[in-house]
Amino acid sequence: MILTLLVIIPLLGGLLSFYLGKISPMLPRWAALSALSVDFILLLILWIKPDAIISTQGGQWIAEVNLEWIPQLGINFHLAMDGLNFLLTLLTVFLGITAVASSWTEIRERIGFFHLNLLAVLSGIIGTFLSLDLFIFYFFWELMLIPMYFLIAIWGHEDRFYASIKFFIFTQASGLIMLVAILGLYFIHGKNTGAYTFDYTQLLGTTLSPAAEMWLMLGFLIAFAVKLPVIPIHTWLPDAHTEAPTAGSVILAGLLLKTGAYGMIRFIIPLFPHASSVIAPVIFTLAAAGILYGALVAFGQTDLKRLIAYTSVSHMGFVLLGVFMFNDIALKGAVLQMLCHGVSTGALFIIAGALQERMHTREMARMGGLWATTPRIGAVMLFFALASLGLPGLGNFIAEFLVLLGSFGANKTVASIASVGLILAMSYSLWMMQRVFHGPNEFNWSLADFKTREMAVMAAMVAIILWLGVYPQPVLDRLGNMQTGPQSLSASVKETR
């Protein structure tokens, strides 16, 4: 039951915000914040006291809900939570709160409708993370898309129409391919066993011919690869991230990209173990290439948000690398990277948004020497720039280190090439700091520094990154009961070789 609430509450909060928006501009903000806080409390309760420990053939679940919905077609409302999607849901709610807080003064038009869209996206993301029925998984996958489109198209910046349509077409087209693959799997399983079902736990272990497995896997892979993103199908990302309002950028970078990685871990590898081990060399080559390519393109940007957007391409490459190396260390590193990247890049987008709100530009050539006028923003930006370049002691380092360490055992060349990304990450991060905060203050900017509300958000994000850097064990422990048990996974991969 608690899982249903987790999904429904943001949506209800959003509808409430929409109506309250007609009364006063402040009420929707508070309504949104309260709805997300309730979700947050529910998650904390689950952290302390799991709802139930259910062991299935797939793994250990700490909460589950499984209701019949359309029995004729084998569609169930089946949600379940293990360590992996627990952490991702927690990340979703947390970043949702920061997104609401960072829009507090930025959004001044159609405030109620804005929060409806924001919370609807969050509901969609939580649903995507929790679904164990492929039909409702697809339903939530699409649910994320439309409100996100509105967020960009209505409250975005100059080029918002182009960016929002590009985003929509990329994700919609790839989503349809996934739908075909879902149906394919549904019918093959049905034909094999006579039981037509979309239920994930039953579809696991479906016997497939190698060719069918490869085609179905590719269908899923394309949808997830667009979201992650994997080069060369990442080009929707810089436009969407740059043109979206701050909250939109935070959710895109912090959460939407993670749904792609989550899909790979939850669906692609367990459902298609053989095909994914066949395709793995291609994928981790693309991952290493993406790490370097994203960093190089980021280095050349002059638009602050666009720069941060390209760093996501680079950092998500580590996630992809970790997922397709099929070992415990790299996989856990990848999950940690999802969390750390979500928080640190979210924070960078909030800072970039705050600067844009104050300066009405994202062009770094128009900035410089801001440290003297906004030392707090500068210090926080420095912190997250350091997180982004992988400074030890911060969570992102642990994540990238684990990914590379795990990968090195499997493939020394790819891991070594990917390590070069560490040098490039340093180059663009420091160059960004230089152009925004250091050097002479040529344009004589005199800006308002972060106030208590903004510093509170930042302090929470800093604390998470520090915590994951010096003592990530509690988070890694939660992953101990990851549904896709990495041991069994690597065992099954080994069998095929």
């Binding site: 590009k166 080069i231 060369p232 990442h234 080009t235 810089p238 390519y293 190089l296 393109v297 280095f299 050349g300 940007q301 002059t302 390209y310 415990d328 260390i329 856990k332 020497g369 440290w371 003297a372 210090a379 350091l386 400074l391 030890p392 002691g393 642990i398 280190f401 684990l402 590379l404 360490l405 090195f408 055992g409 020394k412 891991a415 070594s416 390590s419 070069v420 560490l422 040098i423 340093m426 180059s427 420091l430 160059w431 230089q434 905060f437 250091h438 050097g439 002479p440 203050n441 010096v470 003592y471 990530p472 064990q473 890694l476």
Partner: protein, 628 residues
């Protein structure tokens, strides 16, 4: 007592946190006090621990303090653990004591600066990170300290951020060292995947058991570790960042870019010396790189005119001596030179800082002169440092440590007369450039007015360091000069002594080692004191001028890297700033638009066209039906 070990890094880190979060509520006076006291307490604790360690050596001559388990996945479980043994104890004592003196000095030196609190918070963070680096029990924690000091170096070089050049110098330092660091971290991956642990002692034990001498893995691992050491310690070919690092405040140059951080590479190799013993070819490479670096940068130092850049090249050169010592297996000699160098080079930088401050931030030595009269105290302490750097025989610490390295370079089984000869030439050049500096700055005609004189908080650290620069060498002397082996005897539990055959020419080597510096000082005296015209007429020659500008530019390394690495990279980045991978998608979009425009033409609104189209369609349909 030993259980207080964790406080050594924790106190400066706490100081950093307090200074960071207090904001402007803290007065400068209090901020300076917190910054200095936290490091001072660390120094006192390390002295107490040293006394305890020496009077009651722990089992196995090492004490490990596990603070917490960092993380645990499968077989990978690094701990946050500190390890105290003779090597780390020597390092930590030198680091905390020198750091304390430099902090004390900074309270006066930085007094006028508006970033006073920020300065002390970064400096405290540095001392904390450096302590973690040398006390780390495993490679991952060592890497944390390693990157932490790199960060502080970046922050402090770029401390005066409003000047874009400082930012450039800071980035250059961080990025160039990161190239080495990346080699190091790949080395760490290699060590873990092939040996299954990152705990340093265990690592070395397993490597010695599992890897035969000259095995590919041993060579690869030690080469990668060497890569890290080269970046951090500014050795060839990654030395180019250090001269530019002088953009930071002078106490920073003294602490980070002379006494402590730049010797981290020396520490790393000494710490993992057993791995290098398994790879004699890499060990030889260490010696050759050290020898080449010490010579190249000594020549560069000779051509500089900025007082801090002279000292920077000198630092690169002296670390070259340490690498030479490491390369011939004289581990404890390298640590000995690290120690004396930390004292005399910190002294020289702080002395240079006192001069710079007195002359209202003048850096050019040719605009100084005759300062002996105006700043007598500064002159005498600077003279002590210069004598020690030049290895003035018998009376200076620098003599004993450098002489030992030269001796080892000749007599060690892996040494050679050539390495020794390079070292001797370097010693000659060192004396030459050092006394060139001394004569030009302190003698001759005064050229710039002295605007202020150093106060007590500057004088006291200078005095203490001057005493150390003279006396710290007596802990280790050769057989002909008393045969004292306090330091190497103490270090023997961490660093095995050099097994060298009896050397018949020992006394001749020593005499040559003593005369090279004297010759350098004499020539400096003749050229720069007696006949200042000579150097100008030498530089006036076409050949002399070319050579001088070649040396001045640091042998053209910057130019080379700029042309072959930096600019091509920038070119690629700039050419692809619009992300060529987006082109196919834009192509699809414009194709669709084109088709759309074409089809839109048919919607012309003209009835006869529509009638024509309907007729033609009907005809075609009929044909399709009638024709089989």
């Amino acid at each position: 007592m030993k259980s207080l070990l964790w406080l050594i890094p924790a106190l400066p880190l706490a100081g950093f946190a307090v200074l960071l979060f207090s904001g402007s509520r803290l007065s400068n006076r209090l901020a300076g006090l917190i910054g200095t006291a936290s490091v001072g307490l660390s120094a006192i604790i390390s002295l107490l621990i040293a006394i305890d360690f020496i009077s009651e050596p722990p089992v196995g001559n090492a004490y490990t303090q596990v603070l917490w388990r960092w993380l645990f996945i499968g077989g990978f479980s690094p701990e946050v653990a500190l390890r105290l043994d003779a090597l780390s104890l020597t390092m930590i004592m030198v680091i905390t004591v020198v750091a304390f003196l430099i902090h004390l000095y900074s309270t006066e030196f930085m007094a006028e600066d508006e970033g006073y609190r920020r300065f002390f918070s970064y400096m405290n963070l540095f001392v904390g990170s450096m302590s973690v680096l040398v006390l780390a029990d495993n490679m991952l924690l060592l890497y944390l300290g390693w990157e932490g000091v790199g960060l502080c170096s970046y922050l402090l070089i770029g401390f005066w951020y409003s000047d874009s050049y400082n930012g450039y110098a800071a980035r250059k330092a961080f990025i160039v060292t990161r190239i080495g660091d990346t080699a190091l971290i790949i080395g760490i991956f290699l060590l873990f995947t092939s040996l299954g642990t990152l705990q340093i002692q265990e690592l070395i034990a397993r490597a010695s058991l599992m890897w035969p001498v000259n095995s590919a893995l041993a060579i690869a691992a030690s080469a990668l570790l060497l890569g890290g050491a080269l970046g951090k310690s500014a050795q060839l070919p990654l030395q180019t960042w250090l001269p530019d690092a002088m953009a930071g405040p002078t106490p920073v140059s003294a602490l980070i870019h002379a006494a402590t951080m730049v010797t981290a590479g020396v520490y790393l190799i000494a710490r993992t010396h057993a791995l290098f013993d398994l790879a004699p070819s890499i060990k030889m490479l260490v010696a050759v790189i050290g020898a080449a670096t010490l010579l190249i940068s000594a020549f560069s130092a000779l051509a500089q005119s900025d007082i801090k850049r002279i000292l920077a090249y000198s630092t690169i050169s002296q670390i070259g001596y340490m690498f030479l010592a490491l390369g011939v297996g004289a581990w404890s000699s390298a640590i000995f030179h690290f120690m004396t160098h930390a004292f005399f080079k910190a002294l020289l930088f702080l002395g240079a800082g006192a001069v710079i401050l007195s002359l209202d931030h003048e850096h050019n030595i040719f605009k100084m002169g005759g300062l002996k009269k105006e700043l007598p105290f500064t002159f005498y302490v600077f003279f002590a440092g210069a004598a020690s750097l030049s290895a003035l025989p018998l009376v200076t610490a620098g003599y004993y440590s450098k002489d030992l390295i030269l001796h080892d370079a000749f007599t060690s089984p892996s040494g050679s007369p050539l390495l020794w000869a390079v070292g001797i030439l370097g010693a000659f050049l060192t004396a030459l450039y050092t006394f060139r500096l001394l004569f030009i700055v302190f003698f001759g005609e005064p050229k710039t007015e002295v605007t202020s004189k150093p106060g007590l908080k500057i004088k006291l650290p200078l005095f203490v360091l001057a005493v150390f620069s003279i006396t710290a060498g007596f802990v280790e002397t050769t057989s002909s000069l008393g045969d004292i082996h306090i330091l190497s005897g103490f270090l023997v539990s961490s660093l095995p002594p050099l097994t060298k055959p009896a050397e018949p020419n020992a006394s001749q080597i020593e005499i040559a080692g003593a005369f090279a510096p004297l010759a350098g000082i004499l020539i400096a005296y003749l050229i720069y004191y007696r006949n200042p015209g000579i150097s100008e007429s030498l530089a006036g020659l076409r050949f002399g001028n070319t050579l001088k500008s070649f040396w001045f530019s640091g042998w053209g390394f910057d130019n080379f890297y700029d042309r072959f690495f930096v600019r091509p990279l920038f070119w690629i980045v700039m050419a692809n700033r619009n992300d060529f991978l987006d082109k196919p998608f834009l192509g699809i979009a414009s194709t669709l638009k084109g088709v759309n425009r074409l089809l839109a033409l048919s919607q012309s609104g003209k009835v006869r066209w529509y009638a024509f189209a309907i007729t033609m369609g009907a005809v075609l349909a009929l044909c399709a039906v009638i024709l089989p």
